[in-house]
Amino acid sequence: MANVLEQLLNALALAGLLFLVSAGLSLVFGILRVVNFAHGVFYMLGAYLGFTAVALSGWFWPALIVVPPVVGTVGALLESSTLRFIYRRPPIYQLLLTFGLALILEESIRVLYGPTAKGVDPPALLQGAVNLGGLLYPRYRLFLVVLSCTVAIAVWLFLSRTRAGLVIRAVAQNSEMADCLGADVARVRTLVFGAACALAGLGGVAAAPMTTAYLGMGISVIVEAFVVVVIGGLGSIVGSMAGSLIVGAAQTWGAFYLPETAMVIVYAVMGAVLVFRPWGLFGEEE
């Protein structure tokens, strides 16, 4: 029983991190019709900036609060200085542009921080384990579950209940019509791109104490996030949640019962979804 609970929490913690990344990826696709290849690098940037912030201040909490807006600003600046000019081109070019940006950012981080992984200590409050009815479980992972659930609910409420969320959904549904009705589409795009990067950055800071900040974490997370959105459907927040849970569960139980094959199970799930619903569980058929 304790074992099942532990696996369940592990799956939720992993799914939470995946959601923070894939939600932004999906949101940006909904608004900009661009799959942001650089999205994983913003996650990595968050982890490294988190390392710097913790090293400078000695505190984890300020890093968790300060880093996401910084990552978001970097994202928004990159969108308005490059991507903005090529929205009218075929989607290939936008994908390639974000690929170029990913390369530049990844190499810049390598130059600034060097090749070794950077460890980040969790805050004192979240160190050690907590006793959950006989199961000793790391506090930090529990915190990840709480954090990502909170963010998921907040994002969902923001999109479905606020006026700004309404405008974003309108732009996602039909940007020309939204433009005619007075929405500032260019601004919405920049802000959504920035917000998505900030979410990824938050994921990065939150992940750093568990995984350390290392080169290559961006690509590994973007590949997993791609799998999540292929399963869940691009452009759907609910799809990102469902996809994250499926991938998180498949990886956790896969790693537990059949190590070495965890990723194979994830790909098998993705293959099954593609055969029966090529546009994803919650996506819309093009």
Partner: protein
């Protein structure tokens, strides 16, 4: 003689004459460049002619490299046997991957190809007994041209082998593109919905071109392994897939010859910058971003726009 024939003749003469004028290091650079050009050209088949962006093309290059390395190292067969093995393995693996990936279109296709490539990369990385893990397979020999034939170990001999493969592949790719099959691919690129409404199923065509492109990428990889003397997981890594995309875009998408020129430009930039800084990828990335924004046709597309060539 038409202009394109003059260009083709000039290119052939250059390929034959230039190696005699170069120093050893430059010759090796030229060989490298031709192998990269072959890789980029194969990517152009799916990217430029069918409109499907693959983010995982390096996987087939890598499969070719591993197959070739194993055949040469363990069985000491002539190089062409290794080339066939590399091209064949890449093509065989591309069938299931392509079957899944071509069910999706556009962005989904790009993501799927990347996911499968990272999966193959992980396999190459973890299957230590066969692939040597992160160390890869070293000491791959350049063997004979055929059983009892001459050795291709000399740099110039190997260069001519590579050049012959590239020229042959170029001719074959041209034939593919010009065939009814190739016309169908371009129709799919222009308007897949119309293609479908004319009563044709695009998927066999997409799968077909995906496998053909993988075969040529595998051939490039199979040349790479004996040329460099090793095969390692890096050649399957996403960064290399991305470099292929960059070469295609820099040279000119949908032109076949453009990607070869793009590979030339890319490797020359790399060669020049890497003597100044080890972080040349940043500058290459910047050049690439600028080309995507300002010169979407690449070298060939831009030259066409200004009427330098047709």
């Amino acid at each position: 003689m038409s202009a394109s024939r003059v260009w083709a003749a000039a290119a052939l003469v250059a390929l034959a004459v230039v190696p005699w004028l170069l120093a050893r290091h430059q010759l090796s650079l030229l060989t490298d460049l031709l192998i990269a050009g072959l890789f980029a050209m194969s990517l152009d088949l799916i990217m430029g002619y069918t409109g499907m962006v693959s983010f995982g093309h390096a996987a087939y290059f890598g499969l070719g490299a591993y197959a070739s390395a194993l055949v040469l190292l363990h069985w000491a067969q002539p190089v062409p046997v290794a080339l066939l093995a590399g091209a064949l393995l890449a093509g065989v693996v591309a069938v299931p991957v392509g079957w899944f990936s071509t069910r999706a279109t556009g962005i989904y296709f790009a993501m799927l190809t990347l996911a499968f490539a990272q999966f193959l990369y992980t396999v190459a990385y973890k299957w230590r007994d066969l692939t040597g893990g992160s160390d890869g397979i070293a000491g791959v020999p350049k063997t004979l041209l055929f059983w009892g034939g001459p050795s291709v170990a000399a740099p110039r001999a190997f260069y001519f082998l590579v050049a012959a493969c590239v020229v042959l592949s170029f001719v074959l790719c041209r034939a593919v593109v010009g065939s009814p099959f190739g016309r169908a691919l371009q129709a799919i690129r222009e308007n897949e919905r119309r293609f479908t409404s004319l009563g044709r199923d695009p998927r066999p065509f997409k799968l077909g071109v995906f496998v053909i492109a993988a075969v040529f990428a595998g051939l490039a990889g199979a040349l790479f392994a004996p040329f460099r003397g090793f095969a390692s997981p890096e050649v399957m890594f996403w960064v290399f897939s991305g470099q292929g995309l960059m070469m295609v875009i820099m040279g000119g998408i949908g032109t076949l010859v453009g990607p070869i020129l793009g590979a030339m430009l890319f490797i020359l930039i790399q060669e020049i910058l890497s003597s100044y800084t080890e972080h040349w990828m940043i500058f290459t990335g910047v050049v690439f971003v600028l080309i995507v924004i300002f010169l979407p046709g690449g070298l060939v597309g831009t030259a066409r726009r200004f009427g330098v060539i047709r």
